[in-house]
Point group: C2
Chain length 214, copies 2
DNA sequence: TTTTAATAAAGAATTATTTCTTTAATTAAA
DNA sequence: TTTAATTAAAGAAATAATTCTTTATTAAAA
């Protein structure tokens, strides 16, 4: 089989490695190393319960070289990670579904420093339409299509109940949204052009419970 | 190197397969197949953009056999998935950090059908201590330790800011919590006995943005 | 009844990822 | 100065996961 699939394979870095990079970044920023000049892969690995070679290889996918016997320059490593992860870009996002989870994401506010800016939110509940959360206006979904093209929005954040997730995913795709961040506990049917990232909390729960009750 | 790591390797099923099982379950429940008698791996794979053999193999890790030319009995497959994923068990959880995300998780309420019951929540903000969210009481963190042992709580849900995540993780571990579901955007340092499941939203964001801006 | 098509299942092959091994560099200690 | 220890990096080996191939089955169509 040809299996183009929806993989949209990352060029240059394996997905498992890419997933670990943000962990290294937040680890460094929250550790004592933030105040020192150098940090070694060995130290990161030890604290994060990973293999040192794995950490070294992950970091080697980026444009930075470490010093033998010393490690990486902390500031340089942070910069390299932020660059590589696109934290200095701004990708504009619309969010559909301003319920509990959607609201939590808007209030959280950490994404703006990470390359993603939520420009507006959409819902069909008259109770919440018109409200504003952290300067993000909540508008009726009817306005979504028009605004996406006018404002050059590339990312759609989907935080609606499972039952209507596909419907709104289809709306996003038909409007030309390039990438959908799906928080609905349901995988989406898509064409092959649209990038889908499923953040399925139930997959995480499944792993946790299986380890707890093998 | 011995590398015991914190892997707590799943016996019987590879982690990637385990992560896909909840997706199959929610897909089936939300698809038209819920009203039919049989569903084939081919159909699941097609809609989810996966390889049919992969779906077949994933399902084969559980105790169910499919019928050639027909597929799996829908009800039997749902039951098998729910059993395998432990949806019929009840694991009791305490949550620390009743902020936006913690509140969203409590309000969401879908976990109870999935094997995890949030019994109580803890915070150190006097403003929210004493409140109740979906019948879950919010108590001062000082009471955490005592209640964990008295109530035989096995799971800790950690929804606090990164800066204090390690501190509360240590508290959970010292109280005998068996598994920590960590939503803080920071990997935790742990001993090797405690099960940690990191739900790092930034890893998902990283993959999405790298595909969008390769 | 016979043929065709759809499918699960088992196993082989391939590919991806992790882990191990070796090397060279270099800082710090003796 | 010399030695020992620590580390990044490169490459080899091992392991894990996915994809491909074949086979047997069986429902539906001819």
């Amino acid at each position: 089989m040809a299996t183009s699939k929806n993989k949209k394979n990352l060029v240059g870095i394996p997905e498992p490695s890419l997933r670990r990079l943000p962990l290294y970044l937040s680890y460094i920023k929250n550790s004592d190393f933030i105040e020192r000049k150098f940090i070694s892969a060995t130290h990161i690995a030890k604290d994060l319960n990973l293999d040192p070679t794995q950490v070294t290889k992950d970091i080697a996918y980026m444009d930075i070289i470490g010093k033998t016997r010393v490690g990486y320059d902390v500031n340089e490593l942070i910069e390299t990670l932020e660059d590589f992860l696109g934290y200095r870009n701004t990708n504009k996002a619309f969010l559909i579904g301003a319920g509990n989870l959607g609201t939590a994401l808007m209030k959280y506010g950490g994404f703006e420093k990470s390359g993603l800016k939520i420009i507006a939110a959409f819902d069909n509940d008259p109770q919440i339409i018109g409200k504003e959360i952290e300067n993000i206006k909540i508008m009726p979904v009817e306005k979504f299509a028009n605004l996406v093209s006018r404002m050059h929005i590339s990312v759609g954040i989907l935080t609606v109940p499972a039952a209507v997730a596909q419907e709104y995913a289809d709306l996003m795709i038909s409007c030309g949204i390039k990438a959908i961040w799906n928080f609905a506990p349901l995988p989406l049917k898509t064409n092959d052009e649209t990038i889908i990232e499923n953040t399925s909390i139930y997959s995480n729960l499944a792993v946790l419970l299986k380890k707890l009750n093998p």
